[in-house]
């Protein structure tokens, strides 16, 4: 038994180690090399070139503003929504628990582009509408600015901040607040003197995690920032490898190293806050009875604000996509617009061989990649939870390392590797890259599933006379199914919409959906883009429902 475990642990360490360490190592080696073809002759020329670039200072400044701005917006919004949904007498509160996580369901690149279609200065629909209404000769809003980027990125990161803050807020001991009231403080003072300070670790953790995601974000910087010539580190990197006459992967790697380092530092700060959060947020075992704050007169205005926000978050982006996919060019909704509606864009897209290829590739990567990724995650999670030797600890550290990897930087690292293999420019390069980058998202739900399977459950099966194999089949797998299903769905949707790694690794023949959408956006082909975007959302929703259905059939529980 122990021998079998040892062999499994070591082979997983080799495999996961390759997936996570290889791109980092290649990134560092690449940054010290002359160029993709001159690998191995070491030089610091690329570092000098990268860090004496006159543009770099502005890029850094804009990155800092973008990252902190968007992370703050997401955290404040999440805090507000979490408080409303868990602690107040707001009508339809359950709705406000769903709304903050909705942006997760729309691919980031589509969400960003629908905002471009609404608020771009030349033909953004909202701009056109306002111009028409007030007979203005210029547009009021311009999405192609830093505030525009911050707003959209903030909305995109809202779910992650909400999912950290809301559980902490609904689980803390109400006695802390009650004793504040007893001491003579009103609700308002209690909120700022007790509730928020106690929640501080959760709030900071949400903020840091949002910063990591903003730093790695590529959808907003590429779809909104690049047309406005506002570059952040991610797009600065992308510019080096994708535009101009000579792609400079060495210089990109040199910049990438510092992006990676800052991301890893942020992850450590995040882990510090999440590990100390237990000290602050006291979860009592007693039945939780929240004291509901009465909003009184503020109820109606806040309700309207929330309703507007949810309209903006869910309905508007999808509506815009549907509308644009049907009209020949961006125009204000009017009788004329509705009269000129046709399925022309849809037909063009469905006849476009590259769009169809990208759909096929993304579907393959989503289904096959997630299956492979979950199979690997199951073994890794098993070793982490059940074997618990020192080498299992190494595996755990290794497998969570890629949590901090910004996709575009890791893409550059993988580029240095794949170019030396026959995998270069194939779909397999994307597959390996995806699994390496998103492995923690598969391992997380499976480790929690394994933790729930008490070892006695397996042991009592052995005592009952069942073999190891039978125990695995009849006890472990059925109890693991919910974890496998949710992990698979998470991975498949992430792979299906993957953009940041793909923009680097995808080549003619290995196009994927998100990259194809970005290409349409760069060419301003909004109609085709919207049609393809809706296909993307529909296919991914169908996939998720199908797997959910199969998962519920496999589970005889309840």
């Amino acid at each position: 038994m122990a021998q079998r475990h040892k062999r499994l642990t070591y082979s997983l360490i080799v495999l996961v180690g390759f997936l996570t360490v290889c791109p980092v190592l290649m990134l560092i080696l690449g940054s010290l090399s002359e160029g993709l073809t001159a690998f191995g002759t070491f030089t610091v020329k690329k570092y000098i070139a990268a860090y004496t670039d006159p543009d770099l200072f502005l890029v850094l400044f804009q990155t800092v503003v973008f990252v902190t701005g968007a992370a703050s917006l997401a955290t404040v919004l999440a805090l507000f929504l979490a408080y409303i949904s868990t602690r107040t007498d707001m009508p339809f509160r359950f709705l406000f628990k769903i709304i903050p996580v909705i942006p997760m369901m729309i691919p980031h690149i589509l969400f960003s582009i629908s905002w471009v279609m609404l608020l771009n200065p030349s033909n953004g629909i909202l701009n056109l509408l306002i111009r028409q209404l007030f007979s203005l000769d210029h547009s009021i809003f311009n999405i192609y600015t830093l505030p525009g980027m911050i707003m959209v990125e903030g909305l995109l990161d809202l779910p992650i901040a909400y999912l950290i803050i809301a559980p902490a807020m609904s689980s803390f001991d109400v006695a802390l607040e009650e004793s504040s009231h007893v001491c003579g403080s009103d609700s308002f003072r209690t909120l700022f003197k007790i509730t928020l300070p106690v929640l501080r670790p959760a709030i900071l953790a949400a903020f840091i995690l949002c910063m990591i995601r903003c730093l790695a974000s590529f959808a907003v910087p590429s779809a909104i920032g690049m047309p406005g010539r506002i570059y952040v580190l991610a797009t600065h990197l992308y510019r080096m490898v994708s535009t101009g006459f000579a792609a400079d992967y060495g210089k990109a790697a040199a910049v990438g190293v510092s992006v990676l380092v800052s991301s890893i530092i942020l992850i450590y700060v995040y882990r510090y806050f999440t590990s100390s959060s237990e000290k602050f947020v006291t979860i009592s075992g007693r039945g939780y009875k929240p004291t509901v704050i009465k909003l009184k007169k503020a109820k109606i205005p806040i309700f309207i604000i929330l309703l507007t926000l949810s309209f903006v978050l869910i309905i508007l982006p999808v509506l815009v996509l549907i509308y644009i996919s049907l009209v020949p060019y961006s125009m204000v909704p009017s009788a004329k617009a509705f009269a000129s509606m046709s399925l022309k864009n849809w037909i063009t897209v469905l006849k476009d061989p590259i769009s169809l290829l990208s759909l096929k590739n993304s579907l393959f990567l989503g289904v096959f990649g997630a299956t492979l990724g979950i199979a690997l995650s199951t073994f890794v999670a098993y070793v982490i939870v059940k074997v618990r030797t020192k080498s299992a600890g190494i595996l755990e550290t290794l497998s969570f390392l890629s949590f901090s990897f910004p996709g575009i930087v890791i893409g550059v690292g993988f580029m240095w590797f794949f170019v030396r293999t026959p995998l270069y420019a194939t779909i397999w390069a994307l597959l390996i890259g995806y699994i390496a980058t998103y492995l923690p998202y598969g391992i997380r739900p499976l480790t929690s599933a394994f933790i729930q399977i008490h070892s006695h459950l397996e042991e009592s099966s052995l005592v009952s006379g069942a073999s190891y194999l039978k125990t695995f089949r009849r006890i472990v797998i059925p109890l693991l199914t919910p974890g496998i299903v949710s992990g698979w769905i998470l991975m498949a949707t992430m792979f299906f919409r993957e953009l940041t790694l793909s923009v680097i690794l995808s080549r003619p023949g290995s196009e994927v959906l998100a990259v194809q959408i970005l290409r349409f956006s760069e060419d301003g082909q909004w109609g085709k883009l919207s049609a393809l975007g809706i296909i993307m959302i529909v296919v991914s929703t169908m996939l998720v429902s199908l797997v959910n259905f199969i998962g519920s059939k496999l589970r005889p529980m309840e």
Partner: protein, 362 residues
Amino acid sequence: MEIQVKGLRKHFTSEGKIIKALDDVNLTIPANTIFTLLGPSGCGKTTLLRCIVGLETPDAGEISIGNEVVWSSAKNIYIPTEKRKLGMVFQTYAIWPHMNVFDNVAYPLQSQKVPKDEIRERVAKTLSFVQLKGFEKRPATKLSGGQQQRVALARALVAEPKVILFDEPLSNLDAKLREETRKELKSFLSKLQITAVYVTHDRVEALALSDTIAVMKEGQIIETGDPKKIYFNAESRFVADFIGRANLVSAVVIEQTESNTIVQSSLGKLKCKKADFPNGEEVTLCLRPEFIHPRKGTAEGTAANIIPGKIETLVFVGDAYETEIRCADMLLLARLEPEMDLESGDQVFFEVKPNQCLIVAK
């Protein structure tokens, strides 16, 4: 079936230190008795049980169940758990949450490839034995703690094993339910021809349930015997102290008479139960609180085994008063009837009967 354990050794290393979970354990568990392994947590009792069932592999020694050697380091024999044909009730019950009661109980029979009709019959029979008749379709997650415990018992019994093992099966129940279940378990087990090995740290449970108790400490079996022997006639100070509340007093043996041993202690000269110690040996005197019955006043005359004292504290605990009596330099614990007329500060005296004065090694 009889279980024989010979020279069993199992060491763990934890944070660089070696922990002797089992330190050369020799044990014979007679067939068709309820045998309890009792000891404080970390004494190795659960490890011993898990070695018998095969979930833990010892470092050295031999285990045989009935006539079959199931594990032996010297003969290089290892029969895996699933082939040992035992029943076991786990501390957490380990009821599989994705199955209903029937599937849980039928599982051991399905593993033995018993025909379906027979499975249905035997599951029904076992469920009615543990008083869960008609619970077949109930999902495992919809059971109370006591019901889960009985499902676990049914699952352990359904294949009619010759040996059943219990790993602290009552420790997850609340106090009242624990007492009821303990009685039930005793009556279930006494109806069956089965060898039961029971692990617990609860002395009352051990005393109430067992035919034989083995007290363990630091990976070794200190003493084995029936409940009365362990309670009244313990050989070691550790066992006397662990099995019940005791006043332990240092003493020296001064004389052996035909039927008694006389000791000198700070409580005076006492006539005790006969114990095999030489004169001059330093020993420990063990007085159970329930054998001390103080009366108000001072003792008349100088009769043997009469000890004077003063009530120091008096605490009402419902079914009794617990009191501390100051006797010479000692504070002795005693239990008094709830209806008595003593108060703090009263001068009292009490007599201890020689056969209630236990002498154990120092």
